[in-house]
Structures are given as structure tokens and as C-alpha cells.
Amino acid sequence: MPDFSSSVKLKYVKLGYQYLVNHFLSLLLIPIMAIIAVELLRMGPEDILNVWNSLHFDIVQVLCSSFLVIFISTVYFMSKPRTVYLVDYSCYKPPVTCRVPFATFMEHSRLILKDSPKSVEFQMRILERSGLGEETCLPPAIHYIPPTPTMDEARSEAQMVIFTAMDDLFKKTGLLPKDIDILIVNCSLFSPTPSLSAMVINKYKLRSNIKSFNLSGMGCSAGLISVDLARDLLQVHPNSNAVIVSTEIITPNYYKGNERAMLLPNCLFRMGSAAILMSNRRSDRWRAKYKLCHLVRTHRGADDKSFYCVYEQEDREGKIGINLSKDLMAIAGEALKANITTIGPLVLPASEQLLFLLSLIGRKIFNLKWKPYIPDFKLAFEHFCIHAGGRAVIDELQKNLQLSGEHVEASRMTLHRFGNTSSSSLWYELCYIESKGRMRRGDRVWQIAFGSGFKCNSAVWKCNRTIKTPKDGPWSDCIDRYPVFIPEVVKL
């Protein structure tokens, strides 16, 4: 960890200075209160009674001072930044007809790649160790032999996943389409003209003054980038709500060649989407599920190795696919460390921060041979939602953050049941935790996502009300079977 410690040191100094300056007035109050307290202690109880009796409580004075107090408290409360709530969200549950059990996948693979048995062998080994289950789904176009990834098919997959999720969201929240003020759609790999956001506006006949944004190319972390944009917009527009649609359209991106590093995404990416409703309205405070506390984005694009680790390119035969480099885990670890240095001071309790500071001082200034102290994030969060990018990602993060099996259970089970659904996987994981009945009021959730570029984004949510186990939703029919034991290698 070369620059980790020095950047942390500077960050702490900066934070301390910012805290001092920003809260200057409140800090000034402390000596004033101290002086008043000392004065009160010096005067005996009779003196205090004398002072009290000498005060003339003129009606005008009382009115003026109470008016002043009320006015000031109003100004204080209005100048606070608006809280952004997550009212509700819904995840897409693919139909049973789209399921791709291992046998189907391998049969397809053998038929399509009949000229390269080594690649078929490679795919089988990946699938055995992937941590995926037998119920993950691929879009209908990919079930054909050979797959038919036309633009029409991609559009119909987009319509199927997005509209179903949105219909479900409307039903759950009672939201009317014409009440949506902000719409953000993020889909990394498919971007037709008119955009997917225009397609949603067309289907639900949304208002003409809607603020719509279509983000793409931002990888599996795009869901949190959309939340960031929604938060910034909701700070500026009072009394508004925002709908975010996070999805990944698999149809046009199925790799048809036989280059091994590029066959990996075929084995891992699956169909899925999520629709999220966020709001800053006071009236939604009671029914909102979560409150957004922090959102931190880290972009490691400046480092060349990080930049090239997820790269779309043509193989030797000109077929387009996504190349995943072998250092992906190491790069993900580094990106996470960079993200933690920013989010740590915001969420860790003072005790952990103090310990970390002490260990830092000990190592750097006194040159003691202590191991670098990794703050215990389990004290800051009750639940963790790690992007289900692949088994290796979850393993690596579990090791780095020293998490127990139960903490990463949501991620592993989502990977098993739904596969890697890219930006929407975080929402499936959150739904798992809710379906297990583990989400209580006041619980804090940490969502971490990685994306091409290389980005690491994390969001901290606080549960607003204890959530009853949902009756419907993607996990409703199978939650009782989970957690399952996922062996290291599934023999195929």
C-alpha cells in the first residue's frame, strides 16, 4: 500500500481543519457556556433567585424573544441539506422459461464453439467455480443456437426487464407515472437512439418537463452513480422524486468468438434489472425504507493498469467482446482501499478512527513495527452488499474487510440465484436481506460496487423502518431454500 497512509494522513488533517472551521460558531459557544456555568456556580442560590425576581417580564419582550427563537430555528432547519430517502425499489424476476441451467449452457457452448473444444473446456471450468446456480437467466435471444442478437431483440429484452420492474415499482409505491420529476436510466452496454430513458418516457407517457438522463458505459457501478446524480438533483429541486432504472442488456453483448479471456463475461453476466424510487419529500419520510447517508465515488482511471483491466475490444477474428485482465482482483482491492480512505472517516465510530490514528502515528512517526491497523467496519455497518461480480471478488473483499460468512451471505446467494446482473445486483442483495427479515430500523447498510474504468463506488444507507418480509419480489419463492452451501467446484 504505497500512497495509502500518506493520503490518509493528509485527509485526516484536512478533515480536522474543516471540522474546526465549519463549526467555529458552535465551538465558540463552548467557552461562553463555560463562563456562564462558572458565573452561576460563583453566585449562591439566593443571588440567582434575586436575579430571577429582578427580571421584568414585559409582554413585548417575551413576544419578541420567542418570535426571534422561532425564526432562528426555522432558518436553521431550512438551511440544512435535504435528506434524500429511498422510498422503495423493485427487482426484476425473470420468467422460468429464460433459465439457463448448467446443462443448457454447456450444450449451447458445445454446439456454438464446436470448432474449439479447448474453449468449451475453459467455459466448463469457469462455470464449475463460478458460484452461479442453476436458476440464473439469459434473455430469449441468447437461447437460440446460434444466438440472434439483433437490435430488435435487444430492444425487446430492454422493454421486458425495464417495464416489468417499473410496473412493479408503481404498484408497490402507488406512484403515478405523471408524478415522476427525474428519471435516470443506466445501462452500460446497450445504448440505442432514442435512449432507453426516452423509451421509458414513451411507454409511461411521462411529463414533458421531466429531467431525464441516460448514463452508459459506466460499468457495474453505474447504479450508484445514478444514485449520486439523483441525490445532487434532489438537493436542488425541492419536493421532488426521482426514479432510477439500473439494468444491463445482455443480448447485444454475447461474445461469439473463442478467445478465452473474453468468454468469461458470457459465463457470468445474467439478465436482471431494478427500479428505484428516491424522494426528498417530507411526506415520504414515514414510508421510506432507507435514508441516504453517504455516497463516495473513486475513479482510478489515472492508473493505466486499472484502466485497461476491463476493456472492450475485437479479437483476432474481429468479434467484439470484453477482455477481463488477470489482475482484476488486485486492482479491485486497490480501488476499494482508495474508497475506504474517504468513507472511513465518515462512518467509523470515533474509537476506531482513534485507534487507526494511533497506529498510524506509531508506525510513521515512532517507526514501531506494528501491522497496519484495518479498521473494523463491522462496527460501522450491520449489513454489507458487495457487488456480486464473481466469486473471486466476494472472496477478496471478505478477506480485505475481515467479514464473516454471514455478512457476505447476501452477495454469495445473489450470485448463486441471479448471477452477475451488473448494476442491479446490489438491489437484489438488499432484497435478500429484507426477505430474510434481518433489516431493522436503524440498521446501516454499505453497498460497494466496482466498474470498468476502474471505479469503486460505495453508498451508505440507514434503514428508516423495520421492514416486514416482502410477500412478492424476486426472492419470494425461494428464500426458504437459502442460504445454500456453494461448493468450491461443482462437478459438471
Partner: protein, 472 residues
């Protein structure tokens, strides 16, 4: 008594402090354009009539009817001889582009523009806090924004957004994102990079509504530096007054006016429907309805409302009377020159500029920047507005206090507009790095006609599609 006095004076002081902070923060929420740089590709990428003809001829699927159609479209397009096209058009590879072609086209653009922009303003890439990239037709992994961050080694905490598929109005949408971020975060510097990717989007079929897109779009792009830092505001050029977005996606005919799809043989292209002008007009009218009250003085609005009322009263007794309703674009009936001094119209085509000129009642002087941009640079999609702005700056038309109205359209169907106020006198001194610097003296030229008619006009006489042979 004393304690009460001290307490109330403390509270009053706190109140005054809060109010002052509130007013102060408003000054930090302004969105200024610090500088902008349009891209001028190298001269070996200039598309003359000769080369255009060769490219069209290379397409084996086109027949006589398509040639006639193309001739009509190109002759009346208003596009001149010096517009730019991507390299692969000149290498003959437009039907088989690779990912690398698309990326190099974008690299050539952003390396040149961002370099010039930062150098001129003595800024480093590490100073950029917000990056918004909008390129409609390119979707790469990692995104174009990540490529820019990698090339310039920007900071880790840069706020980056990559917008795609939002059409020719996307640069106003990017400015909208930056404007909203500036309201919450103080002291930020934003870079908006807007362009269009042509290399991977050549249509190789013969569906008429789709081959039009091949001939109208040209290469170009722009990088804009925006800021809300108070220390940079003396150097700023423009201040954003208001921004209005209108989305007509809810209407079926507006949504289907411009759609990317496959033709009968599975080739991908952009279908431009015949109802596009009507959809554009509707969106335009709706957008004007919202932005007009924000930009015109109250007296003008009042007079307009009165005249509308009188017209309604006069019309109601005679319901059956036929009034001359303008077919293509209704006249606004209100004088926009009272609130706006310059008009930056998206150079979507000659018809678009004519229609807007008619409905807003603009003179040739007002439409000149848009027409000249269309002639010199063609339809560069989202970045065209900045080329038009560059023309006005090069012609020394922009004086302090002037208001510039930008309007653009996009697939979906969107109409986005914004109003900028000139904060520094731009009519004196040199405009460094302006793309028009080398040729501004030749504009406006005496004639805007391109030699397509004289070179290929004989096609109109040809009748027989079977025995038709292309004469050089």
C-alpha cells in the same frame, strides 16, 4: 435584564450571520462558461463534392432513385465544401469500421481540444472536479469519460458522468447536470466534452430514410470549461441565465420520428421519419411556452397576453372563419429581440434554421451564424451550438450584457434551450483558439450553393434505372 440583552443580541447576530451566508452562497451558485474550444480536424479530412460523390458511388446497394433522392437532399442541405468527415471515409473502409477507428476518431478530437483549452487557461487536469461527456452514438467499455480521465490522469474523486443516446441536444443536458451540481457544491470546475461519433455508424443499405443520416452528419466536437468559482468569474465569458428542457417522448409520433433500427436486411441505421419536422415544431412550441416568460421583459409579455386575449375574443363569434395557419411553423407573434440579442440555432439542416427563423421572426443577420456554421462545418450534432457561438465571437458581435439564446433538438423527441448572458466584452481583443479565426473574413460568402448540382445535376434527367451508369 443584562442576560436577556446578551442572549437576544447573540441570537440577532446569529440570524444576521445565517442570512449573510445564504445570500453569499447564492453568488457561488452561478454557472459561468470560462472558455470553450471547438475542434477543427486536419485539412486532409475535408469532404469536397468530388469525394462525397465517390463515397456515395462506393455503396453498391444504391440505385437511380436513391441517387436522385440524395442529390435533392444534398443540394438543398446548405452544407459547403469544407466540412470534415472521419478518416475511414477517405480510406474506403466506412462499411467495416473497427472499435479502434471509433476510438481514434474520438481521441483525435479530445486530445486536441482539451489540451488547447487547459493550456490557454493555465489549468491542470488535476484541477477539474466534474467531467461530463456526451457522445450520442458511441458506447465503449471503458466509457469515453474513463478514457479521458486515463489520458489526462485526473483526480480520483472527480465526479464523472457519461451520457449517450441523447441526440443532438445532449450538450444542453450536460450543462444542466453541471448547473445542478454547482448549486450544491461550491468552488468547482467542470469540463463538458461533447461530440459525435461517425465512424461506427455508417449505414450500408438503401433504405431512403436511413441514408439521409449518412450525408448530413459531419465530424466535430467541443470542450467547454464551466465554473462557479468566484476567483475565476472575472475571466468568465458567459453566465447561465436559465435552461429549459422539454421532452415529448410521451407522444408516439414524436418518439418514432428519429429511431435507430435495423432495416429489412438487418443493417443498422438511423431512420428519420417524415413526421420529424412536425415533431420538432411541437417540441419547439412547448419549449418556448416555458422559456419565454423567463427571458422576455414583463411589458412585452403583458402586451402579448393582451393581444392573445383580443384575438380570442374577436375569433369566437366567427368560428367557421379560416385563418391563415402557418403550415410548417406557426409564428410566435411575440418579438424575441426584446429579450434576446443573438440566436444560436442547432444546425440540424437548412429546413430547421429556416423554420425557426420564420417562427421567431428573425432576420438574415440573426440567422447568419447558424447558416454559416452549417455551410462551413455541417451538422456536427450536439457540438454545433458551440461552433455557432464561435462564429458570433469571431465576428465581434458579442458585447457585455448581450443575451444569447441556444436551442437544440434531439431524438426522443426533445427540445432543449438555454440563455447565456455575456459577462465580459468579447467584441474587443483577439479570440484565441477560435476555430473560425482562419476563415472568418471570407464569411458570409456570396453564394451558399455547393457544386453538387452542377456536377451531378445530370442524374435528374436519367429515367431508366436499369441501364443507368454512373458517369465520372
Amino acid at each position: 435584564m443584562d442576560i436577556l440583552c446578551i442572549l437576544s443580541s447573540l441570537l440577532i447576530l446569529y440570524l444576521i450571520f445565517k442570512i449573510w451566508k445564504h445570500i453569499d452562497s447564492k453568488r457561488d451558485q452561478n454557472c459561468y462558461i470560462l472558455d470553450y474550444q471547438c475542434h477543427k480536424p486536419s485539412d486532409d479530412r475535408m469532404l469536397s463534392t468530388q469525394i462525397s460523390g465517390e463515397i456515395i458511388r462506393r455503396n453498391k446497394h444504391l440505385r437511380l432513385n436513391e441517387f436522385k433522392f440524395l442529390l435533392k437532399a444534398i443540394v438543398s442541405s446548405g452544407i459547403g465544401e469544407q466540412t470534415y468527415a472521419p478518416c475511414i471515409y477517405f480510406e474506403g473502409r466506412e462499411e467495416s469500421p473497427t472499435i479502434q477507428d471509433a476510438l481514434s476518431e474520438m481521441e483525435e478530437f479530445y486530445i486536441d481540444t482539451i489540451e488547447q483549452l487547459l493550456k490557454r487557461n493555465k489549468l491542470k487536469p488535476k484541477d477539474i472536479d466534474v467531467l461530463v461527456v456526451n457522445v450520442s452514438m458511441l458506447n465503449s467499455t471503458p466509457s469515453l469519460s474513463a478514457r479521458i480521465i486515463n489520458h489526462y490522469k485526473m483526480r480520483e474523486d472527480v465526479k464523472v458522468f457519461n451520457l449517450t443516446a441523447m441526440g443532438c441536444s445532449a450538450s444542453v443536458i450536460s450543462v444542466d447536470i453541471v448547473k445542478n451540481i454547482f448549486k450544491t457544491y461550491k468552488n468547482k470546475l467542470a469540463l463538458v466534452v461533447t461530440s459525435e461519433s461517425l465512424s461506427p455508424n455508417w449505414y450500408s443499405g438503401n433504405n431512403r430514410s436511413m441514408i439521409l443520416a449518412n450525408c448530413l452528419f459531419r465530424s466535430g466536437g467541443c470542450a467547454v470549461l464551466l465554473t462557479n468559482k468566484r476567483c475565476l468569474s472575472p475571466r468568465a465569458m458567459f453566465k447561465l441565465k436559465c435552461l429549459v428542457r422539454t421532452h415529448h417522448g410521451a407522444r408516439e409520433d414524436s418518439f418514432n420520428a428519429c429511431v435507430q433500427k435495423e432495416d429489412e436486411l438487418g443493417r443498422v441505421g438511423i431512420h428519420l421519419d417524415k413526421t420529424l419536422p412536425k415533431a420538432a415544431t411541437r417540441a419547439f412550441v412547448d419549449n418556448l411556452k416555458v422559456i419565454t416568460p423567463k427571458i422576455l421583459p414583463v411589458t412585452v409579455l403583458f402586451r402579448f397576453m393582451l393581444s392573445l386575449l383580443l384575438k380570442k375574443l374577436r375569433r369566437s363569434p366567427s368560428k367557421g372563419s379560416t385563418s391563415n395557419v402557418a403550415q410548417a411553423a406557426p409564428k410566435a407573434g411575440i418579438n424575441f429581440k426584446t429579450g434576446i440579442d443573438h440566436f444560436c440555432i442547432h444546425t440540424g439542416g437548412k429546413a430547421v434554421i429556416d423554420a425557426i427563423g420564420y417562427s421567431l421572426d428573425l432576420t438574415e443577420y440573426d440567422l447568419e451564424p447558424a447558416r454559416m456554421t452549417l455551410h462551413r462545418f455541417g451538422n456536427t450534432s450536439a457540438s454545433s451550438l458551440w461552433y455557432v457561438l464561435g462564429y458570433m465571437e469571431a465576428k465581434k458581435r458579442l458585447k457585455r450584457g448581450d443575451r444569447v439564446f441556444m436551442i437544440s433538438f434531439g431524438a426522443g423527441f426533445k427540445c432543449n434551450s438555454c440563455v447565456w448572458e455575456v459577462v465580459r466584452d468579447l467584441s474587443v481583443g483577439e479570440c484565441l483558439g477560435n476555430v473560425w479565426n482562419h476563415c472568418i473574413d471570407q464569411y458570409p460568402p456570396k453564394s451558399l450553393l455547393n457544386p453538387f448540382l452542377e456536377k451531378y445535376g445530370w442524374i435528374r434527367e436519367e429515367e431508366d434505372a436499369d441501364t443507368f451508369k454512373f458517369r465520372t
